[in-house]
């Protein structure tokens, strides 16, 4: 069972799908397009099935890496093919597998070059799978970088009117971050001869990593602390851009709003998690000590991310831009939780429990945000489809009267995003705040302003779009079809399920979280 390369198979399913879908690209006509859509969806469901299979066979009692595969690859460079998942990885795989079909369904009405579109989506999925399972820097980085390409083209070729600049901005920001990351890891490799995340984490844990780096690099012009910090800064930049963290976020709103909505779903639902995953899998274990040194500035950044993005969302008029900023805001909570965990607590048992809570919250929030944001953008897509592309806050009004089901379901998703108890959003945020308050009180306290602003703009949406006088233009807007309702049902159901029974996820990740926190020996 373990011997079977499940993860490799899982990663290759979407790749195969991409090739197959691209392969039928020659023909034109509606049948061909439907074939491409159907095939792509089938492959994404296959991937979902495989992920569920893994979920089922995952030993949640253990925080160790499971389903590992390990083969030598480029011995000269210390590169191995090493993949494996723990609770974190599994959660991310599941999230990806859920978000991708949603994205596909939301882009069903795309008409131009359909096979190419769907094969790019599948390719993106493969890259995400790869990123979430790779344990060696080399091929992790392959997937990390490769994911940019489909994302870029999805924006560039199917995006809105200002797609070119949005796509380029997206690419340039991420690329600069990646190169900084690459240089940092090269320096580490040079000093240690290792590219393996787990090995490096082990070294860092024993406090051997940075001394080795400082010693072997021989940059004697700088003090050891500075060398360590410089390397950390390179790696940090790579992930901070991806999440994104204020002030590296400026690519995000335009990319999200210009991308076709189906793509935005992928970007926010799954790709934004790559950054957070990087924080958890790479920065935290390997650069824990450095992060702790600069904890206060980091916390400030997290607070700024939370608060500023929430207020920015407040003044936006475009639904997609609002959700884009709201995404930044939600991911900010995750960062807050992650940074708070780094607080030195001197082995205080009570605070360790808080750390567990915060960390659990972070993972839960990652999943929740993916689910909720994807669903919200999906609603936007449906709205756009009905309105012929309009999605301004002020373009609508009183829609509740003509499409009550739509309004109701989207309301649920909005409340989930707001963090209403009983829905999934609440649990994650609650755990994060529960953990962070004792650990980083001032930061958590300031972040509450973000919550406030979020509440305001969510309610604003409800009011302006669904309530009030009916905008007569949309008097004939159809409500959700049965098909759409059926498609939405699992997502909405999952929101309730997680809100009421978060244990379902927490059980899987808890051991991983405990292990992660324990590794941080501060």
């Amino acid at each position: 069972m373990i011997a079977f390369p499940w993860i490799t198979v899982l990663t290759s399913v979407p790749i195969a799908g991409a090739l197959v879908v691209l392969g039928i690209g020659g023909g034109v006509g509606e049948r061909n397009k439907n074939l491409a859509r159907g095939l792509a969806l089938a492959f994404s469901f296959l991937a979902l099935g495989l992920t569920l299979f893994l979920w089922h066979h995952f030993n949640s009692a253990s925080g160790a890496l499971q389903f590992q595969e390990r083969y030598p690859w480029i011995p000269a460079l210390g590169v191995e093919y090493r993949v494996g998942i723990d609770g974190l990885g599994l959660l991310m795989l599941l999230l990806t597998s859920i978000v991708v079909p949603i994205g596909m369904l939301a882009s069903w009405q795309i008409q131009e070059r359909v096979p190419l579109y769907f094969s790019l989506v599948l390719l993106l999925q493969a890259c995400l799978f790869g990123t979430f399972t790779a344990l060696n820097f080399f091929h992790w980085f392959i997937f990390w970088e490769l994911s940019l390409i489909p994302a870029f083209f999805l924006i560039k070729l199917w995006g809105g009117p200002r797609r070119t600049s949005a796509a380029t901005q997206f690419l340039v920001y991420t690329m600069v971050g990646s190169i900084a990351l690459l240089l940092a890891f090269l320096a580490i490799f040079l000093a240690t001869g290792k590219f393996d995340f787990i090995d490096l984490a082990g070294l860092a844990q024993n406090g051997q990593l940075m001394p080795a780096v400082v010693r072997n690099l021989g940059w004697h012009r700088f003090t050891p602390e500075h060398v360590a910090l410089m390397i950390f800064a390179g790696a940090f930049l790579g992930f901070a851009v991806k999440v994104p963290l204020v002030p590296f976020h400026t690519w995000l709103p335009s990319a999200y709003s210009e991308a076709p909505t189906g793509t935005t779903i992928l970007l926010t639902g799954a790709m934004s998690k790559m950054g957070l995953y990087g924080f958890l899998r790479i920065l935290l274990p390997i650069f824990g000590a450095e992060m702790q040194q600069v904890l206060t500035p980091l916390l400030w950044l997290a607070v700024a991310t939370i608060v500023l993005s929430a207020y920015a969302a407040l003044v936006q008029k475009d639904l997609k831009r609002i959700f884009a900023y709201s995404s930044i805001n939600h991911l900010g909570y995750c960062l807050l939780g992650i940074f708070a965990v780094l607080k030195f607590t001197g082995g205080d048992v009570a605070l360790t429990a808080e750390k567990y809570a915060a960390m659990n919250g972070v993972l839960l929030q990652m999943f929740n945000h993916g689910l909720t944001a994807a669903t919200l953008f999906w609603f936007v897509a449906m709205l756009e489809k009905r309105s012929g592309g309009l999605r301004g806050l002020n373009d609508f009004g009183g829609l509740r009267k003509v499409m009550p089901v739509f309004a109701g379901l989207m309301g649920i998703a909005l409340f989930s995003s707001l963090g209403l108890p009983g829905l999934n959003g609440f649990v994650g945020e609650f755990l994060i705040f529960k953990g962070s308050f004792p650990l980083a009180t001032w930061a958590a306290a300031l972040s509450v302003f973000g919550l406030l602003a979020t509440a305001i703009f969510i309610l604003g949406i409800l009011q302006r779009v669904f309530s009030g006088a009916l905008n007569t233009t949309w008097a004939a807007m159809p409500d959700l079809t049965t098909g759409e309702r059926l498609a939405l049902a699992p997502a909405i159901g999952l929101m309730f399920a997680l809100g009421l029974y978060p244990q379902w996820v927490l059980a899987v990740v808890n051991s991983t979280v405990m292990q992660m926190v324990q590794q941080l020996k501060f």
């Binding site: 690859w73 480029i74 460079l77 980085f141 390409i149 070729l157 090269l186």
Partner: protein, 504 residues
């Protein structure tokens, strides 16, 4: 041993093409293709069979006994890789010149002559023989460009020929001097590499020979032949030029200059402008080449010039890798030779064959409104893939190579490594800019019906592109395939001097 037949078959193919009856273009093409496929098959077989990478003598016969010159062909891991590269590029080049209609037989005859000579250089173990093949390369190169080229072809061709010839003249002086100083008994590489040349001799002979070869490798500031030559050349010739001919220079630097005169890399004992040895000087020039090539590529208006300058930038990586003098850097340089060969070939194929032969312009501003990504999507996809690979996207060969070189450089010249980072960023930028402007520009006006639709991408082009992309991906995903043979070669006695000297 079959490897020697790569040379003979190519030359025989060229001869046969000349003797073919006139007017049988398809026959000529097929014959040329067949020839290159056979040679490629031979190199591939040798590569697969010869897993250890150690030196393998192909043939060794007395040639001019009175001068101690032998007809000695041999291959080690490094040459095997370059032979393989030559085989790949040769096939792809023919596939991409399937549409040549004018003087077909002569074209392919020159082409095969060039290929045969390139095989010869990579196989030669006797320096006289190496030099013979090295010079043979110049002539077909000149005619391929001058007859079948485009923009300012005669100027570009002549410049290229003269630069090459001046470079080889420098090499000849150095080799002659080495031959005489070593007692004029043998021109075999290993004999000369073993001979302890006096330090002061190496100090002038090394830069002479190195620069002589590096001219062909496009080292800044001797690179100016490269952009004009590449732009003027017909597609297949650009592919060969960037793909293998520039590698001849780099190969010579490593194989001849550095093994013969390892002490020339040592410190001078004094510093000029912070540079303390030829090694520093050449590393600096390489870095300048990387950054300069990338920056200049960023502002070009002609699509092909973008690729031409990008070659200079990438060749800078090779030279930098050589100058790191550590195992990773050197191995990286060899991998980069392969990688750049494949990718530059592919890029030139897209620009020269897929785009220029259809749109009849290479001006980026003019190409934009043609909406090429809809008109010839295959070209767009190929360019995107090739561009990504060339900018060092992981998963392609360029990444591994540049990664290794960067690691090596980081160890040897930390400051330069940072500059290289700038070069990489600029590399991303120019590929991106070219791609945007050429393929994905916002179509201001819908293509009018007046404009005839561009002919679709033909089967040979598709095959060629797939071959090259496949090669790049294969190396990118499993570089160990190359490293397995490179590393033993770098540990062979040939590089003893280098290892004992300044190897780190």
């Amino acid at each position: 041993m079959m490897l020697a037949w790569t040379i003979y078959i190519s030359f025989l193919g060229a001869l046969a093409l000349l003797l073919l009856p006139k007017g049988s273009a398809t026959l000529a093409r097929s014959l040329a293709l067949l020839t290159t496929i056979v040679t490629f098959a031979i190199t591939l077989t040798a590569f697969v069979q010869h897993r250890t990478g150690a030196l393998l003598t192909v043939t060794q016969k007395s040639w001019i006994p009175s001068l101690g010159i032998e007809y000695h062909l041999a291959a080690d891991g490094i040459s095997l890789i370059l032979l393989l590269l030559t085989g790949i590029i040769a096939i792809a080049g023919i596939l991409f010149s399937w549409n040549i209609e004018r003087r077909v037989q002569e074209f392919f005859a020159f082409y095969l002559l060039l290929i045969g000579a390139v095989y010869g250089v990579f196989l030669s173990y006797d320096l006289f023989l190496l030099f013979v093949f090295y010079e043979i390369v110049i002539i077909p190169k000149y005619f391929l460009i001058a007859i079948w080229g485009s923009t300012r072809r005669e100027y570009g061709a002549m410049k290229l020929a003269l630069y090459s010839f001046i470079g080889s003249a420098m090499v000849l002086v150095g080799l002659l001097a080495a031959y005489i100083v070593a007692g004029a008994k043998s021109m075999a590489l290993e004999d000369l590499a073993r001979f302890p040349f006096p330090l002061h001799f190496q100090m002038w002979a090394f830069p002479l020979v190195f620069v002589g070869f590096a001219i062909l490798a496009g080292m800044w500031p001797f690179h100016t032949w490269a952009p004009t030559g590449h732009v003027a050349a017909p597609t297949a010739a650009s592919m060969l030029l960037a793909g293998v001919v520039m590698k001849l220079g780099a190969y010579g630097c490593l194989r001849v200059a550095m093994t013969l005169f390892p002490l020339g890399l040592g410190p001078w004992g004094f510093h000029v402008l912070g540079l303390g040895s030829w090694r520093d000087v050449f590393a600096l020039l390489a870095v300048i080449g990387i950054v300069y090539g990338a920056l200049v590529a960023l502002v070009q208006k002609d699509f092909k010039f973008v690729i031409g300058y990008s070659s200079i930038s990438h060749m800078g990586f090779i030279l930098l890798g050589l100058m790191t003098l550590n195992q990773l850097g050197l191995a990286g340089a060899v991998v980069q030779m392969f990688s750049h060969g494949v990718l530059a070939g592919l890029l030139f194929a897209v620009v020269g064959r897929m785009v220029y032969d259809r749109a009849h312009t290479r001006d980026l501003a003019t190409l934009g409104p043609m909406n090429l990504n809809k008109a010839i999507p295959f070209a767009a996809v190929t360019f995107v893939v090739a561009g990504m690979a060339s900018m060092g996207l992981p998963g392609f060969s360029g990444f591994v190579a540049e990664l290794m070189i960067l690691i090596g450089a980081w160890r040897a010249f930390p400051l330069f490594a940072v500059c290289v980072g700038i070069g990489i960023v600029a590399g991303v930028a120019y590929i991106w800019r070219a791609m945007q402007q050429a393929f994905f520009a916002e179509a201001g006006v819908e293509p009018t019906s007046m404009q005839p639709p561009l002919p679709p991408i033909s089967i040979p082009e598709r095959l060629g592109a797939i071959l090259l992309i496949g090669a790049s991906v294969a190396v990118g995903l499993y570089p160990q395939m190359l490293l397995n043979v490179i590393l033993p070669a770098l540990h062979s006695p040939l590089f003893d001097g280098l290892r004992k000297g300044s190897w780190q």
